[in-house]
Each structure stands twice: as structure tokens, then as C-alpha cells.
């Protein structure tokens, strides 16, 4: 690391970042984003929650109404010219010239990069295409690309040179399950090489598993952020106990005596918040009281549960 200044432990840091549109609508409302260096930060939220506007502000495309942005310790937009070459970005889907082929489109972006070495262009463009599996389609016009190929070309553009930070806005949009897996693998790969990655998605489950950190947006606000484990642990771990229906009332009494939370019935099983009670205690109590235990499962909270708890609404329905 170049170590300019002391604030280099964060790859992205915003303070009070706000965007009020001319219509008066507040797109992003005073968020303090903090992405530690080396993290894979899942920037999650439903469509329209302000993720893309935030990413546009991070890149200097949209001027904030209030607040500041720091990327890799440099202030944006003031120092954008020196810091952005170290940042690869995919913003609101890929966009290329439809009548140029994949290679020519990447060459166009490379030609725009004042800090790129033109002598190594062919090698770098070829390597980027190779890495996203587009080498065979390099001479095909972008117009003829499938949605998945377009997304891959967008990713290739972020890989034209080594980056310290990748900002990937909905990189799995339009990809089939196989493509989604490949994007996850790519994110893991670049992160393993030391690149910090911020990846946004409106599909929690697609991204959740690769993230070390998570920030959840809803209606322009950052509801929560931090290490993924911590955030998930903030939710409620539940125990799901399956018994015969005629023993269910008996079970509910036992569970109540153990000090678990208010139980509810979900299909064949009784579900209760585990609270601080150890799960083996539950099993012993149930069996010890003569109930025939058919099944017992501990369900850890998912980010979606956390989101639902924070907003009181489902992840997919907000806005």
C-alpha cells in the first residue's frame, strides 16, 4: 500500500452521503458507508433502495447533495483522476458500443485510460477476455452478445488492469445460475488476490455467501453494516422441533418451561426463538419428558430475516 495519510484502512468511506434529486425525492439519505480494505462487502437492498445512486456518487458520476466520499484514502471527486485507475467498476449493467466487437470495446476503454500502457494493451485485453470466458466471442459484435455475455464483458473491463478496489453493481443481473456461480468464483478470486470488492445486489441469497461484510440499504438509508457474522447473529436463532400432533401441546409446555421465546406452529413443527438456551438442553428436556422427538433443527438467521426484522417488510417487496 502506498500509505498516503492514515485513513487507508478503509477502501470506501462515506460520511453523511446524501443525494436529493431535483424532484425533491431523497435517493440516498446521509449514509456512512465503511468498507474495510480486503473485504468483500455485500451492498444489499431491494431495487430502488439507493444502491446504484450511491455507487454513482462513489465514482464521481453524480455529485452528492451533501457528504463526502473517500476511495482508497483519496477524496472523490477531487482526486478522482489519481484514484479511479485503481478502481474497476460495473455500474447499472454493462454498456458498450453495439456495433463494435468485444475486443474493440475493451480497446476503446483502454485507449481512454491515460495511465494504461498502450504497449501491453493486446496482452491485457486478451487476458481480461480470457478470464471471463469470452475469448472465443472476442470478434463478435456486442450487439449479438447474450445478456450473460454482456455482463461478462462488463466484468472484463474491470479486469483490464490490476485493481485495488472493484465496485460491482448487480454483477449477476441477467445471468443464469451457472453464470452467477462464475461471478461468485471471480469475486472470491480477485478478493483472494487482495482486491477489496463491493458488490451490490437485490438478491440476497446470490451474494450472501461470498461476503465478509454486509451493508443493507432500504429507502435510501443504510440500515445496518458490519461483518456478516455479527449482523446475522443480531437476528433470532430459532429451534424447530417436530413431534406428533397429539404431543404438540405437551411440547409447548416443555418449551415454555425452558424459557424459550413464544412458540408458533409452522406446518408439522413447533418453532421457537432459541434465546440463550443451548440446543442440547432442549433435546434433553423434550426426550426426558417422554415426548417422541421426530426432528430437531436449529435455524440460524439469514440476512433476509435481519432485513425483514429491520424493515418489517420482505426483501423483494420494498418499494
Amino acid at each position: 500500500m502506498t500509505g498516503a495519510g492514515g485513513a487507508t484502512d478503509s477502501a470506501v468511506r462515506t460520511r453523511g452521503l446524501t443525494k436529493r434529486f431535483r424532484s425533491g425525492q431523497v435517493g440516498v439519505d446521509g449514509i456512512d458507508l465503511l468498507v474495510p480494505r480486503g473485504a468483500v462487502y455485500g451492498f444489499l437492498g431491494p431495487n430502488g433502495s439507493g444502491k446504484t445512486t450511491t455507487i454513482r456518487m462513489l465514482l464521481g458520476l453524480v455529485a452528492p447533495t451533501a457528504g463526502t466520499v473517500e476511495l482508497l484514502g483519496a477524496s472523490v471527486p477531487a482526486d478522482a483522476r489519481s484514484v479511479l485507475p485503481r478502481v474497476g467498476a460495473l455500474v447499472e449493467g454493462p454498456a458498450f458500443h453495439p456495433y463494435l466487437d468485444g475486443r474493440a470495446n475493451l480497446e476503446r476503454l483502454d485507449a481512454a485510460d491515460a495511465t494504461a500502457d498502450p504497449r501491453s494493451r493486446d496482452r491485457r485485453v486478451g487476458a481480461a477476455l480470457e478470464r471471463v470466458g469470452l475469448a472465443a466471442a472476442a470478434a463478435k459484435r456486442y450487439r449479438q452478445y447474450s445478456l450473460g455475455m454482456k455482463q461478462r464483458l462488463g466484468l472484463a473491463a474491470t479486469l483490464l488492469r490490476p485493481r485495488d478496489l472493484l465496485l460491482l453493481d448487480e454483477p449477476t443481473n441477467g445471468l443464469d445460475p451457472q453464470g452467477t456461480r462464475e461471478v461468485r468464483a471471480l469475486v472470491r478470486e480477485v478478493a483472494a488476490a487482495g482486491t477489496t470488492v463491493l458488490v451490490s445486489s437485490h438478491l440476497l441469497s446470490e451474494i450472501e455467501q461470498v461476503c465478509s461484510h454486509v451493508g443493507i440499504m432500504s429507502r435510501g438509508s443504510l440500515l445496518v453494516q458490519g461483518a456478516r457474522e455479527e449482523i446475522a447473529d443480531a437476528g433470532t436463532t430459532e429451534v424447530r422441533v417436530a413431534v406428533r400432533p397429539d404431543q404438540r401441546d405437551h411440547l409447548a409446555r416443555v418449551v415454555g418451561d425452558l424459557g424459550l421465546g413464544e412458540p408458533r406452529v409452522d406446518g408439522d413443527v413447533l418453532v421457537a426463538p432459541l434465546g440463550g438456551v443451548a440446543v442440547e438442553k432442549v433435546a434433553q428436556a423434550v426426550v426426558g419428558d417422554g415426548i417422541d422427538l421426530l426432528g430437531l433443527e436449529v435455524r440460524r438467521p439469514t440476512l433476509e430475516d435481519v432485513f425483514v426484522r429491520l424493515t418489517g417488510e420482505g426483501f423483494d417487496v420494498a418499494r
Partner: protein, 287 residues
């Protein structure tokens, strides 16, 4: 893994980088099929005029039609002038407006603008490169007419000593030089329109809107120029001096007339160039 790049590139390197972007931009403009069709269409105009004149040259129509038309059959060099004068009111502004209006709005519409800006390219540098590329296209448009005009004129009617407006005759070499002057003057006369087109192009994400607005400016300017009641503002109109190219056919070319026309273009470039710059460097890119 950190890239230690010198952030402040040396001036020479920055110049080389701008040249690289400009080459890429020129390839984009001149590699695009639509733009090549426009150039081919313009180049066809002198061929069309020449063919018509060749077929009908026994029909006496002296003194009618656009300026220089009646002199083409006598000297093919005049086909260059007749074709340029025919294209000036509409076809040339249209073609220039299409490319200028597309310059920024087209990239915004495809979304490529945001990716150029995060490369990053400074917005001022990008606008300048775009302007130079559109100017190059305007120059190529004029040259396309002139070159095919000269070739067709020479092939159909032959070229020889040039009779000026005064009736004096100058050698062919002198005439060619004067024709070259006309080409340069016409190309420079389009710079104001290029600036207007670029400005409109920064206002919208719909290229057609920018193109149409630019054409409208050229046409309205021509309409206003035809209203005698507005003679006070005529000298400042975008198109008013366009046909001053006839000055090149006087025995003594009055440079001040030409400079007056170019000064008006410079004023339009200054005003609309500044507007385009201030808009483009401050606008949110949300496309």
C-alpha cells in the same frame, strides 16, 4: 497488490494519452457505418449535379439555379463550387448536426459515457476530443464533396484556366488554390454549428433530440437571414456569412470579408463551447 502509478503524469505523457483517446474517437466516428453513409451521400451530390449537367448541357438555362451552376460545363472546377453551394443550406448542416448531436448524447444513450468517465477520463478532455473528432468529420464532409466534385468535373467537362467574377482569367493552379480556400472556408464556417450541436448533445440522453435541435438552429438562422426587417442582426447569424465563399473568386480576395465570417463562427464557438463545457463538467451522469 497495489499499483504505484505516478498520479500526475508528465505533460508529454498526458499529451500522448490524449492523442490515443483522439485516435480511438476518430476510429469510432469514421468507422461507424452511418457516418460513412453520410459521407458517401454528400460525395454523391457533385456526381448527381455533374451527371444532370452532362445529360442536359444543350438545354439553355444560363443564369438560373444555384450560383456557379451555369459555369460548370465550361470548366469542371466549378462543379466543386456548385456542389458545395447546393449542400450548404441543408445537407451539410444536417450531416454535421447528426454527428455533433450524437457525440455526447449517443454515448449517454448507450451508457458508454459513464464507463468512459470512470476509466477515468476528465470531462474537459473528453469534450475536447469529441469536438475535434466532430470537426474532423465536418472537414471530411466538405472534402468529400470537393474531391468528388473535382474528379467528376474534370472527367465530365475538363478543367482549365478559371474565369473570375470580374471576367479576369487566372491559371488553373491559381484556380485550384482558390477552390482550396473555398473548401477551408466552408469547413471553418461549420465550426459554430459543431459547437451548437455539442452543446445540445450535452443536454440530453436522446441523440435524435440533439441532432434535430441542431438542424433547427441552422434552418431558423437561414429563415431569419431572409427577413429584411432583421437586417440589424443578420451579421451575427450562424449562417449569414456562409455564402461569402464567393469572395475567393474576386481578382483581389478581400480577406477582411472572410475574416468577418470566421469571427462570427469564432463567437458562436466561444459561446456554445463554453455552454457545452459548463454543462458537461457539472451535470450528473445518470444514464
Amino acid at each position: 497488490m497495489s499499483l504505484v502509478e505516478a498520479p500526475a503524469a508528465a505533460p508529454a505523457r498526458r499529451g500522448a494519452a490524449t492523442a490515443r483517446l483522439l485516435r480511438s474517437e476518430l476510429r469510432l466516428v469514421f468507422g461507424r457505418l452511418r457516418n460513412l453513409v453520410l459521407l458517401a451521400g454528400l460525395a454523391a451530390v457533385p456526381l448527381l449535379i455533374g451527371t444532370v449537367l452532362l445529360v442536359t448541357q444543350d438545354t439553355p438555362v444560363a443564369g438560373q439555379g444555384p450560383p456557379f451552376l451555369d459555369r460548370v460545363t465550361g470548366n469542371g472546377l466549378f462543379l466543386v463550387l456548385a456542389a458545395l453551394v447546393s449542400c450548404l443550406p441543408f445537407l451539410l448542416p444536417l450531416c454535421v448536426a447528426i454527428v455533433a448531436g450524437d457525440a455526447v448524447a449517443g454515448e449517454a444513450a448507450t451508457g458508454t459515457l459513464r464507463y468512459l468517465l470512470v476509466v477515468p477520463v476528465s470531462r474537459t478532455r473528453l469534450l475536447l476530443v469529441k469536438a475535434v473528432a466532430v470537426l474532423a468529420f465536418a472537414g471530411a464532409a466538405v472534402a468529400a464533396i470537393a474531391v468528388t466534385g473535382l474528379i467528376a468535373g474534370a472527367a465530365f467537362f475538363g478543367v482549365g484556366d478559371v474565369t473570375l467574377l470580374s471576367g479576369d482569367t487566372v491559371p488553373l493552379a491559381d484556380g485550384l488554390l482558390r477552390a482550396l480556400g473555398v473548401v477551408a472556408y466552408v469547413a471553418l464556417s461549420l465550426t459554430g454549428l459543431v459547437a451548437v450541436g455539442l452543446f445540445f448533445s450535452t443536454l440530453t440522453e436522446v441523440p435524435v433530440a440533439a441532432m434535430a435541435s441542431t438542424v433547427v438552429v441552422a434552418i431558423v438562422s437561414g429563415v431569419l437571414d431572409a427577413l429584411p426587417q432583421l437586417s440589424a442582426v443578420h451579421p451575427w447569424l450562424l449562417t449569414h456569412h456562409w455564402l461569402d465563399l464567393g469572395e475567393f473568386l474576386r481578382l483581389q480576395v478581400d480577406v477582411s470579408v472572410l475574416l468577418a465570417g470566421l469571427a462570427v463562427q469564432a463567437a458562436w464557438v466561444a459561446i456554445f463551447g463554453t455552454l457545452a463545457w459548463s454543462r458537461f463538467t457539472t451535470a450528473d451522469v445518470s444514464s
